[in-house]
Amino acid sequence: MRIALTELRRRPGRFAPAGIALVLLTLLLLVLGGLLDGLYNGSTGALRAQPGELLTYSSDAKLSVIRSRIDPATIAEVKQVPGVEQVGGLGAALLGAQVPGQSDDASVALFGYELAPTGVPSPPQHDGDVYADRSLKAYGVKPGQTLLLGPNHYPVQVLGWVDDVNFLLQGGLWGNADTWRAVLASARPDAVLAPGTFQVLTVATAAGADPVEVAAAIDVATGGATRTVTRAQAVNSLPGIEEQQSTFNSIIYTTFFVAALVVALFFALLTLERIGMYAVFKAMGASSRQIFLQVVSQAVVITLISFVVGALLALAASFAIPPQVPIQLTAGRGAEVVVGLIVMSAIGSALSLRRVVKVDPASAIG
C-alpha cells in the first residue's frame, strides 16, 4: 500500500490520463444527477410534501390534478370511510406571474390547501396571501411583494419562503382555498368551481390502518366516483416523471460502466508495463494479493481525488447554469456518485488480477 501511494505522490503525471477521464466522468455524473434531481424535485415537490399518505382524484381525471374535481358530497363520503383520519382539499392553477421590476413573467403553480404540506405553515388567514417556493428568488420574487397572477392580474402578496413545493417545474405559491378559487375564477372564468369543491383530496390514514386497503375502501364508498392512490403512485403518475427517471438513470448507469472501463483499461496497460517490477516483488516474497491490493488502492485513490476535482467543477458549473435550468446538486447524489465510482474503479482495476496472479517470480531472474 505504501509503495502504491508513494508512486502516486511522486509520479502524478503517470496517472493523469485516468485522472482526467475520471474528473470528466464525475462532472458528467454530477451534472446529469443534478439535472435529474432538479427536474424530479421541481415537478413533484407539491405532491411529495402532502401530509396524507393517500391522494384522491375524481375517477375520470386519470390522476391529473388539473382535470380532477371532487364535490362536497363526495368529500363527506370520504371522511366517513373507516381508517380515514383527516381529509384536506387541494386545488392548483398553473399561471404566469408578473413580478415587480421584472420584464419576464415567472411560471407559477398556485395551490389552495386545507392541510399544511410538510415545510409549509397552516393556510394563510387572509385571502390573497401566499407562501412562495424559494426557487422563485431566481425570478426576482421577494417576500412582501405583490405578484399579479394570470391574464387579469389577480394580486397576491408573498408572506415568506417555503422549500421544495414546486409543481410541474413551476414555482409553488401556497394560499388558502378561497385565494385559489378567486385566482382560478379570475384567470379562467369558464372554470369556476362551486364552493366546497376541490380538485384533489389529501387523506391521512389512522394509525395502524393499511393505506392501500383504505384507498380501496374510499373508492368503494364513493361508488367509483374517485380513484385513490398512495402519494408515491401520485408522484409517479405525473406526466413524464417515470420516463425522465428511466432515461437519466440509463445515461448515469452507462457512465458508471464507462468509468469502470476507463479504469480497467488504464490499469491493464499499467500492469503490463509493470510485470518486471511485480516479478521482482514476488521474488522478494510479495504475494499476488499484496500486489493486487496496491493496484486497487491506486485506482481508489485516483478515483477519490478525481471525484473531488470533478465535484468542484460541477459546483462551478451549477453556478454558471441559468436559474431556469433546474439543476440541484445534493450531498446524497454526491455520495451516490462517489460510492458508485469507487465500486466501479475497484471492479475495473480487479480485471488486472488475472495478470497479476500470472506474473512469474522466476522471470525476475534471467
Partner: protein, 224 residues
C-alpha cells in the same frame, strides 16, 4: 547444517511432446558461510538452478533443502513466505523500484512482511551506512551511479537477514574495474555476515572471489 543442499534435482520442461531437461540430477551442498560461483554458458541451466535454490521454481524431481528446511514440496504460498524470510536476491539488472529512494528500496522487503517497521528502518539505515550510502539514501535510483545502484541492490538482499543470498550475473553490465568493485563489495558483505552465497556468472575473471567454483553444462554440474 549446510545453507543449501540439492540432491538429485531435475527440472524438466514440456515442449509439445518433447521434454527439455534444464537441470539433470544436480547435487551440491553449500556451507553456512561459503561462497559458491556457478559458471556456465547461456542455456546451461545455471539460472534454473538458482531459481530452484531460491524457491522461484519447484524441481520436477529431487530434494532442495535451505537452512535445514526441505522446500521441494512447498506449495506456492509457502514458497512465497520462504522467499520473504529466508533468501536474498541480487538481480542481474539490479531492478530497483525507480520511484523509491535508496532507503525505501530496502524497506520494500519489510513492506511485504509483518516484521517490526521500526526495526526494519533501523536495519535499512545500518545497511546503507555499511555500504557507504549514508548520504545517498534519500536519492532515487535515477540519481545514483551504476555502482551505487548495485550497492543498494546488495543491501536489499540482506534486509531480511537471509540464510542464503543468490546473486545473478552481478557484473554482466559493468566494466572490469567496476565489476571487481561490485564483487569485492558483495563478497565483503557476505563474509561479514557469515551468510552463504551462490553467484551465477559467465565472467571467469570474477570466479576467484568465490570459495568454490562449479561448472554447469547442459544442466549437469561439474567440478571446476
Amino acid at each position: 547444517m549446510s545453507a543449501l543442499k540439492l540432491e538429485n534435482v531435475r527440472k524438466v520442461y514440456q515442449s509439445g511432446d518433447d521434454e527439455i531437461v534444464a537441470l539433470d540430477h544436480a547435487s551440491l551442498e553449500v556451507g553456512d558461510a561459503e561462497i559458491l560461483a556457478l559458471v556456465g554458458p547461456s542455456g546451461s541451466g545455471k539460472t534454473t538452478l538458482l531459481s530452484i535454490s531460491g524457491g522461484l521454481l519447484s524441481p520436477s524431481e529431487g530434494q532442495v533443502t535451505v537452512a535445514g528446511d526441505d522446500i521441494s514440496s512447498y506449495d506456492p504460498k509457502r514458497l512465497t513466505e520462504f522467499r520473504r524470510e529466508s533468501v536474498g536476491f541480487v538481480f542481474q539488472s539490479v531492478n530497483l523500484v525507480p520511484f523509491l529512494t535508496a532507503r525505501e528500496n530496502l524497506l520494500v522487503v519489510a513492506d511485504f512482511d509483518k516484521r517490526d517497521k521500526k526495526k526494519a528502518a533501523a536495519r535499512a539505515d545500518q545497511l546503507l551506512a555499511e555500504l557507504g550510502l549514508d548520504k545517498r539514501k534519500a536519492n532515487l535510483p535515477g540519481q545514483l551511479s551504476g555502482g551505487e545502484r548495485q550497492r543498494v541492490a546488495v543491501g536489499r538482499a540482506f534486509m531480511n537477514e537471509p540464510a542464503l543470498v543468490l546473486i545473478d550475473e552481478p557484473t554482466s553490465a559493468l566494466d572490469t574495474k567496476l565489476g571487481e568493485q561490485v564483487m569485492e563489495l558483495i563478497v565483503n558483505e557476505v563474509r561479514a555476515r557469515e551468510t552463504a552465497a551462490v553467484i551465477v556468472t559467465h565472467d571467469l575473471r570474477m570466479t576467484h572471489y568465490a570459495d568454490r567454483v562449479l561448472n554447469i553444462i547442459d544442466g549437469t554440474l561439474q567440478s571446476s
